[in-house]
Subunit: 207 residues, 2 copies
């Protein structure tokens, strides 16, 4: 099946934080999503129970199930919302960068370093979710694919502006460097791995 993605121009709000954890929540649905995001991301998806989520959200469990058919659907909703929040923040920060496409591609890793440096940094929830059960859950895999595609469209645009004939090469290189920096920073708690990735892409763009 040819998955059609409308990724051309995602309207993103200027967000100030890379996570939606702690955002104002007026409706019960939002409070559930906030609590679920925090608990899932910090303690794991399988390890977090719906009772805990409802309790932390200050809602009844029946309200949680009124909004989300199952825990799996809640997980999907959390990933979707958190992915959107992260991209709003990321592209918002990128929009403040002025310079050549090369400058912007390198600046990606400065922005990532800000993310890694947050004491609340818990890695990429999509990567973590897939890591919990690589074998099953093809839903999570496609959700991750959509999330990453938004970033890849932007990278591809920079590559085209640089005159790359096949922008996909650069996209794949950036994928390896971004994912590698995320995981290295997560495992070691050392935000400076972003600089390593930055130097590698700078070196490659100079060639």
């Amino acid at each position: 099946m040819a998955m059609t993605l409308e990724l051309k121009s995602e309207a993103f709000d200027e967000a100030v934080a890379w996570t939606c954890i702690g955002r104002d929540a007026s409706t019960a649905r939002d409070r559930v999503l906030n609590a679920a995001t925090e608990l899932f991301c910090h303690h794991g998806f399988a390890a977090t129970g719906v009772d805990t989520i409802a309790s932390q959200a200050g809602t009844a469990k029946s309200t949680l199930y009124a909004h989300f058919k199952s825990k799996d659907k809640l997980i999907e909703a959390v990933l979707e919302r958190e992915g959107k929040a992260w991209r709003d923040w990321f592209f918002g920060r990128l929009g403040q960068i002025h310079g050549t496409p090369k400058d912007k591609l390198c600046a990606v890793f400065d922005i990532l370093e800000e993310w890694f440096s947050d004491p609340e940094f818990y890695g990429c929830p999509f990567i973590n979710a897939i890591g919990e059960a690589t074998s099953e859950n093809e839903n999570l895999r496609s959700a991750a694919k959509v999330h990453k595609s938004h970033v890849n469209v932007w990278i591809s645009a920079q590559a085209l502006e640089l005159g790359f004939l096949s922008p996909d090469d650069l996209v794949r290189e950036m994928t390896v460097l971004i994912d590698g920096a995320i995981v290295a920073a997560q495992v070691t708690r050392d935000a400076k791995y972003s600089e390593v990735a930055k130097s590698l892409i700078a070196n490659r763009l100079a060639a």
Copy 2:
């Protein structure tokens, strides 16, 4: 605390597979470890219960607890053994590579591609375990650190042979590229991300 690691010369047996899943298991302890490794790695650590493990191992649950004090200790034992198995395979394959240090550093990613191409590939269990609960479990983080250090010692030796004044730079670059390739391959099920990482390190070593 200054963690002292004895990583200088790990004696590794010539192993044929990158995982110990499916190995001959004579003792009940080994059958438990085999079953636990398979279930943990494919379906997740939190998602796998000890009853399931004992059942798949063909042992009594009491036998499992006679060998491992708790599920957490079993997880640690699984990671330790699986890490050793992977390194035996990895360094065994590396030992078959002849050429300059540059050749060997590049060949790392050919070997990784073999790993990624296995239909049973489930990513790096250390990364997955940390991803399940980034906040807690400092034990897992140090287990991962030890595992990665074995690889880093080898990379450092190549860097020294190449005349690098600070081999740590190359070690950190390889870390980003290796972790990035692992995760990209795991998320997308595309083993070819190893080639992307290989070209990036080749480009850097040429500079």
